[in-house]
Symmetry: D3
Subunit: 139 residues, 6 copies
């Protein structure tokens, strides 16, 4: 059976801040630049979730895209959209709110629930701005 | 002399919250939806500034675009990028952090300084997400 | 009170065909090109609805964007998305399924319901492909 | 010799419907959602064809991009653009008109003709909407 | 009869340089910045041509878009695409190769030929980069 | 430690020409099409640089994105933006100004300096137009 990769984009608008509480503002600025600004800033994040699988010969698709979208929205978007990544998001607790950590945490949130709808997670990609994005393949 | 319209896009990533402190969380949610979330959220805003003018016959342009860009960055972007619209921005003090109010406030910030570099402000457009934008013509 | 313009984008994917039943296939092809293909074709249409109004001093916005979006989805998107413009859409009955006619028909569908949520319709813009769009201002 | 990947985008606007004729409308809706709508719907599809190869030291490119584009247009776009995927397209006969099947069928159409112009097919990617795309690597 | 605005996008990739031969390199740099670089630079320009007109009740459109596109390509794109704006383009002879001058010159090239296919020119918009564009309305 | 891929986009506008001086104009046109036009043409190039690495547990990122951006701008963008690829760019000397060669040359320019800021280069992608891009992985 041929193998295809299916990607779904979902979006969320969130606030965040990059900093380590044990460091001074100056040290945080040196490490994280403007992203360490104390009163938060935010982004329109784009999340691209790619699943991989054999094409079901009977139905012609890897998996019902509606189910994939529903899992992403239930597990991830509902917790991130119009929220503060540092404060509000259970699966980001205790982690620096970087795009890298976000990608890993979203992978962990999605891997099992996607399997339950028949989709094997292949890649999580997060676009923070039109100039920056991070990809994570579960390695 | 022919008249042309010149538009410069600049971007800023900022946090904000829509709410009225005198209202309950429920009332704020009814009026402002998810945007009233207490712990802030944020956007990658796109700002499009349009100036209008006769084309300088000698130089072939309405105004030196570098100067327009510099004014926008000095007066607006430097105050908004990686900031909190509600807390950090002097020209938004005392105003609800809506896109409409932001457009008007940015118009006020830019109108005179743009005139000083020879550019007459025509329109301020702010794109908050790929699905929403506001335009203000100074009326 | 300052006046602002607020635009909401909504999307729909639909099939259509441009042809006049009283004409031959050749004549239809001459008038409408590939768009006259008998077995239909389709597009990812983008609909931009712009409303105009004074900014409510108390709430800082022209109108609650959620309400605008809801009206557009109830009146227009629900009837067009994943449908056939020629066959399925009540407000397009008896009309050629051109982008121009679609823009006028959508204006008629939206004008009154938008007024009822406090929004005065200013422009309907429909982007058919990345290379073509139509704007209608109710004139 | 260094190896590079060259991608060409071509576009087509087509109608389609996802359904299995042996199933009821209800069953088709359960499996394919709105895409099973009987009167068709459509999309502006974007097709990204990636070829892979050593860079010709003499000419500085993997392959003449014009030839790649010509092959894609002759073999694929001319058959899909302004057409109905279910009815009009010879290489989709007997297959469900899913994006996955389309990607595989396009791979089969392009692999040999691209080889004949010196280009080894690496990936077929089809973007159905701004939120969904499928990739196929010939596996 | 309702009036609609129809816009067609066409693209061209061209080289140009902004400078006045009677000025020194330093003076040209002061006036035109990096765009005065002597060995040329270039852009992927996007040209948006908007025509305005009553909707033909019989055919449901303002004008046959194919004709509009053909006029733009014959009169403008064929002369600009993969060319040097300063050297190769007859309708830019003797003018500074600014986006403003380009917009005016394209207006003059298109106005009459568009009338001959039944389309009244309303606006010429040229996007030079993702951050800059110029609009000209024939005033 | 988990491994992530971080991509930074930077842009440059440049002129170029594809041709071999030892060939006739006709032969160059046959090999390179319109890109062989003698008086140059140009593009708004988009450069996507992807680095790969373990996520620093302490700082939550692969590498400080500011440093990556600074390296790209110092080593590549400053030499290409508003320049002529054939004439002005030291690291393209003696090479055909194809996108493939540009990708390889940029890889060579960036590999070592990126290592010095702690980033391992994974991919260089150059988008020449909205329809064409090249990727190089250092193989």
């Amino acid at each position: 059976m041929p193998i295809a990769y299916l990607t779904r984009r979902e979006r969320f608008s969130a606030a965040h801040r990059l900093y380590k509480p044990e460091f001074s503002d100056e040290e945080n600025f040196r490490l994280f630049g403007q992203c360490s600004h104390p009163n938060w800033h935010g982004h329109n994040y784009e999340l691209f979730v790619t699943v991989k699988g054999e094409i079901n010969q009977d139905l012609g698709y890897v998996v019902n895209l509606k189910l994939v979208s529903q899992v992403i929205r239930d597990r991830v978007i509902s917790k991130l959209d119009h929220k503060n990544v540092n404060i509000d998001v259970d699966f980001m607790r205790g982690m620096l709110a970087t795009t890298e950590n976000l990608a890993i945490a979203i992978w962990k949130e999605l891997e099992q629930p996607l399997l339950e709808v028949g989709a094997q997670l292949h890649r999580v990609k997060i676009k923070e701005t039109e100039n920056n994005f991070v990809e994570y393949y579960g390695e």
